[in-house]
């Protein structure tokens, strides 16, 4: 194609340097890829949750639940609902935590357990009670029958007509599989979903005569708000009547914070990608100084030059963004998989939205264009006289503001860091998108501030590394350190990009490690048990009846046991957890009171409550006052007998009642957690064996020693963090490419110098090492500052997350910090390999004659 317009020169420039173009575009590709991946994950999550929730609770117009959302109530309410005017149909359901006991064995030889949400439904109204379509067989009619979601059935190799074992509070029950349902998104987040006949479910789960919700279909032409009002008036304060869509909206609101955090991590990759573009375009401009000068001499205006660089950037951005979106599809798949692993919520169907597609491409192009502004402006400033100069010489950025940049950076950090602290301190009580966004702005501000300070740090840091490098790499090491300080702006820019990724990793590892460490420490402090019994599956809320604790306490050597049951209360957006405890609780848990009567615990029997410190503070509650909770029996008031200093299970926000009260007011009787204390001098091995023998009848539960339990918590934690690390890792990878780019720039600029070194007797290896060492210096600067900034940010996060009662102790992430520095070394070496090769291959004669 013949060049027909001046602007096509940009395209020609991109095409003529494919390697550079690729290297520059990689930042955009990865950045846009991860942004698109996260957007798609976000969409998929929202869409999956929304559809699941709207379907799970039926295609009803209105949904009736007990006040607080999770309690049960008597089934006579259904009759009342049906007899209310303009109610066309009403479908009761009893939602139960259960589990599926599969024939396959896990690695311990025990049967594989899968969590299951079981709905007790009436055969005639099952289709209204849940909106999932029946794909095979029928709804359960009578007796031990089960209709299961198709995804689970397929995975477990179950077919209609098979017998299935289901874990109930009394032990496993055998049901016949009579039908299959199709769940949008493939499954209920990896949790099986089943339907059983109402009377059978009530009986098997100790819930005779109870239901947990009613889906209501309104008569044709009736006004929804009126029917809703009528039902509310009729049922009274113990119930909430909601439009089905309200539930769905609440679910997506709860997801918002998480999605914003994800986008932020993804955004940093793009931010770092912008650094890369900025660097690469600056280099291109520098490299083409004479060419640009010539174009100016031939009559190109400044605007034309600026435009041509901008066009080049826009093309690059578009190219990178489109590739990024393609790449992002794979990333989205990987993220959805990782999300499933981390949060025990499997999603099998991706929701690709055109919005995410367009947004990712637009953001990619805009970010590239933004990063190109300064290099383009610089290109426009190139004097036509440059065309006559013998050799392009790089002139650093304006000295004037370069001198004040570090001060400005410090000021920026000084403003942003306290802001993050302030926000973090108040975040847990005030969580919305805007606050999140301003916190993120604070973090970005901090990064920018630090980036502005880095040029001033390059020289001292390089000097610091110099003796070490000399020791490690000989004289090349020392020269490399000096080389890294020759273009401080570029070294600083490259190091800054690395700094951002590394400091995020360190900050989050500090936060995660501290929360985990604190939990483990308080377990140590306040838990006096030796063993605990918990559901096998992480995502299960299976319960057990009183039989299990009774049998366990009969095991010889068991000194004390305590059972915890729980429910959650939803009041608008706020969710609180209510625990039922028994008289064994103080023997095993260390009850430390911040306020209240000395024998506060024994007051629970009389209907009093204990609350966590954080909850008391956020609601302004004091001992002696009363706390009002919505219950299926209507709003109830409980005197607060005491405020708990450490609230281990509730994380500071728990409300503790006696188990009898929890059963009376919330119909919650199944135990979820059993702690066992062994008598002094007992053979623990034998005790563990015997308890395990008991648990064989309750395969959905398993026994953990304290050490195993801690390891289990740590494992869950790490799984969730791996998900975040994966996203942050992308920005580290992008910045590593930045190091490659900078090093190739160094090689290009120093062709002559390298030639001279070779001429005076440096070997190819030595010249190559010079470049690699420079890469190591740059990436070590970035990683070192990243570790420092990350530690500080992590400290702020940790101090901030201790808002209210649950104070998190700061644990320094030593291992992560060491890994980060090691990563710095390796990034430097690997990034240096290609540029070093081209330096080593420099033709001596040509290089020396290079004008």
């Amino acid at each position: 194609m013949k060049l027909s317009r001046f602007s096509n020169l940009s395209l020609r420039n991109l095409g003529s340097r494919p390697q550079r173009t690729l290297l520059t575009a990689i930042g955009i590709v990865l950045g846009v890829g991860i942004v698109f991946g996260v957007l798609t994950l976000s969409n998929t999550m929202s869409a999956t949750f929304q559809e699941l929730f709207s379907r799970a609770y039926g295609n009803a117009d209105l949904t009736i639940t007990a006040a607080g959302g999770s309690g049960t109530f008597g089934e006579e309410v259904v009759r009342e609902v049906r007899s209310t005017g303009e109610v066309a149909s009403a479908a009761p359901r009893l939602s139960l935590p259960a589990s599926l006991i599969l024939d396959q064995a896990n690695e311990n030889g025990l049967p594989e357990i899968q969590s299951m949400r079981l709905f007790g439904v009436e055969p005639e109204s099952a289709a209204l009670a849940t909106g999932f379509d029946l794909t095979e067989g029928r709804y359960p009619q009578d007796g031990p029958e089960l209709t299961l979601d198709g995804g689970t059935a397929e995975a477990a190799g179950l077919e209609v007509g098979d017998r299935v074992r289901v874990g109930t509070p009394q032990g496993p029950e055998e049901l016949e599989l009579v039908g299959l349902l199709r769940i949008p998104g493939g499954s209920f987040g990896g949790v099986a979903f089943g339907l059983a006949p109402m009377p059978y479910a009530q009986d098997a789960f100790d819930s005779a005569g109870e239901v947990s919700g009613v889906s209501v279909g309104v008569a044709e032409g009736a006004a929804l708000p009126e029917v809703r009002q009528r039902l509310e008036d009729r049922l009274g304060g113990g119930f909430q009547v909601e439009r089905s869509t309200t539930r769905t909206e609440q679910v997506s609101n709860q997801l918002q914070g998480f999605q914003i955090a994800l986008l932020f991590f993804a955004g940093t990759a793009l931010f770092v990608g912008a650094f890369l573009v900025f660097n690469a375009l600056s280099m291109t401009v520098l490299e083409r100084t004479r060419e640009l000068g010539m174009l100016r001499a031939l009559g190109s205006t400044r605007a034309m030059i600026v435009r041509s660089v901008m066009i080049e950037a826009a093309l690059l951005g578009l190219l990178g963004s489109v590739a990024g979106v393609l790449f992002g599809y794979g990333m989205a798949r990987a993220l959805v998989y990782l999300f499933g692993q981390a949060f025990a919520f499997e999603i099998t169907e991706l929701y690709l939205s055109p919005f995410a597609l367009v947004a990712a491409i637009v953001v990619g192009v805009l970010v590239t264009a933004l990063a190109a502004l300064y290099p383009a402006w610089r290109a426009g400033r190139v004097s036509p006289v440059e065309a006559m100069r013998s050799r392009a010489e790089g002139n650093g950025p304006g000295r004037r503001w370069a001198r004040y940049a570090p001060l400005f950076g410090l000021a920026l950090v000084g403003v942003c860091a306290p802001w993050i602290y302030y926000l973090a301190r108040n975040l847990s009580t005030n969580l919305d998108g805007l606050v999140y966004a301003s916190g993120i702005a604070g973090v970005i501000g901090t990064f920018l501030g630090v980036s502005l300070v880095i040029p001033a740090l390059v020289r001292p840091l390089a000097r610091l590394f110099s003796p070490v490098l000399r020791l490690l790499f000989g004289v090349e090491g020392r020269m490399a350190a000096a080389n890294a300080t020759r273009n401080r702006a570029r070294t600083a820019l490259t190091a800054s990009a690395l700094m951002v990724g590394i400091s995020l990793v360190i900050a989050f590892s500090a936060l995660g490690g501290s929360v985990l460490g604190t939990i483990q420490a308080s377990l140590e402090d306040s838990l006096g048990s030796d063993y605990v019994v918990q559901p096998v599956a992480q995502n299960s809320s299976a319960t057990f009846s009183t039989e299990l604790p009774e049998r366990v306490s009969e095991v010889s050597g068991v000194e004390a046991t305590t059972t915890l049951s729980s429910t959650f209360l939803r009041q608008g957006e706020e969710v609180s957890f209510v625990f039922g405890v028994d008289e064994g609780y103080p023997e095993i848990f260390n009850v430390a009171l911040a306020a209240g009567v000395p024998d506060a615990f024994s007051e629970l029997e009389n209907g009093a409550a204990l609350v966590g410190k954080q909850l008391a503070e956020s609601r302004g509650l004091e001992a002696g006052e009363e706390i009002e909770l919505p219950t299926p029996r209507g709003p109830q008031e409980y005197p607060v007998a005491g405020i708990l200093e450490t609230d281990l299970v509730g994380g500071g926000g728990g409300i503790y009642l006696s188990r009898e009260i929890l059963e009376r007011d919330f119909n919650k009787r199944g135990g979820e957690f059993l702690a066992i204390k062994a008598a002094a001098g007992t053979d623990r091995e034998a005790l563990g064996r015997e308890v395990r023998a008991v648990l064989e009848d309750y395969p959905q539960f398993t026994l953990y020693s304290n050490a195993e339990w801690k390891a289990q918590i740590e494992g869950d934690f790490n799984r969730q963090y791996v998900f975040f690390y994966a996203i942050m890792g992308v920005s580290v990878a992008v910045s590593a490419f930045g190091v490659v780019n900078t090093l190739s720039m160094s090689v290009f600029e120093r062709t002559r110098e390298i030639g001279i070194l070779r001429a005076v007797g440096s070997t190819r290896l030595q010249v190559g090492r010079l470049i690699i060492d420079e890469g190591v210096v740059i990436s070590l600067i970035g990683c070192l500052i990243g570790v420092i900034v990350g530690s500080a940010l992590g400290y702020l996060f940790v101090r901030g997350s201790g808002a209210g009662g649950f104070e998190v102790t700061f644990f320094y992430p030593t291992a992560s910090a060491l890994y980060a520095l090691l990563a710095g070394l390796f990034v430097g070496i690997f990034a240096g390999l290609l540029p070093a090769r081209s330096a080593a291959r420099t033709n001596i004669v040509e290089a020396v004659q290079y004008e």
């Binding site: 020169l9 001499a297 031939l298 009559g299």
Partner: protein, 249 residues
């Protein structure tokens, strides 16, 4: 003084100073010169005599510190960067020592570059490009990239490029500086012939005696001032003047 309309470029008390205070360098001082239309002028002088700076200022690539440059009756003082650019585009052609071709463009495309820059239709110049490529003897190599051409060929492309929009003035900075003497002579003849054919004024900075001898007039600079002039020079004369100029004291 000649008729204003016949003077292609004129300078009045031109001075150019770099830097300020005690470290200031006076590159040009009080230069008043006239280059009549159609003249082929050479500027010579030792390194640092200011000859390149003079060429930059004449070509509107750089601004003088004081004094005036008048190109075709237009006084350049006070013109904006944009106006200067447009003036360069319309009236000037440049030939550089290092050829300065765009490496990604073919010979033909490089010749067309000023046309593209000025936003004109390349088709309009198809005949002109053919003519120029023929003139510089590169018709057969028009599709080649600069790195596939020899130094002399590259410089001939650059000359064709300078001529394509038929400028009034061609400014050449050491056009033979990077060429061997035989190729240099060829390029010089080309420059001279084409300037004569299209009635253009050529101002050339050079170190090369033979190049200077091809000129109608040689202007000698020393320490930023015009120190001598020679009309219709021959090589020996030039050499003699240079010796005098460079002689100590």
């Amino acid at each position: 003084m000649g008729n204003e309309s016949q003077i292609a470029v004129r300078t009045v008390n031109l001075a150019k100073t770099y830097g300020q205070g005690p470290t200031a360098v006076r590159a040009l001082e009080d230069i008043s010169l006239e280059f009549p239309g159609g003249e082929f002028a050479a500027i010579m002088g030792p390194s640092g005599s200011g000859k390149s700076t003079l060429l930059h200022v004449l070509g509107a690539l750089d601004r003088p510190s004081s004094g005036e440059v008048v190109v075709g009756g237009v006084n350049l003082s006070g013109l904006s960067d944009k106006k200067l650019t447009l003036l360069r585009r319309k009236r000037m052609g440049f030939v550089f020592q290092f050829f300065n071709l765009i490496p990604t463009l073919s010979a033909e495309e490089n010749v067309l570059l000023p046309v593209l820059i000025s936003g004109e239709k390349p088709a309009k110049y198809a005949g002109r490009v053919d003519e120029l490529l023929d003139l510089v003897g590169l018709t057969a190599r028009r599709e080649h990239r600069p790195d596939e051409l020899s130094g002399g060929e590259q410089q001939r492309v650059a000359i064709a490029r300078a001529l394509v929009r038929n400028p009034d003035i061609i400014l050449a900075d050491e056009p033979t500086g990077n060429l061997d003497s035989q190729t240099g002579t060829g390029v010089l003849n080309l420059l001279r012939e084409s300037a004569a054919r299209y009635e253009q004024t050529v101002v050339m900075v050079t170190h090369d005696l033979r190049a200077a001898a091809a000129a109608d007039r040689v202007v000698f600079l020393g320490d930023g001032r015009v120190v001598d002039e020679l009309r219709d020079p021959v090589q020996d004369e030039i050499l003699e003047r240079i010796r005098t100029l460079e002689a100590p004291g």
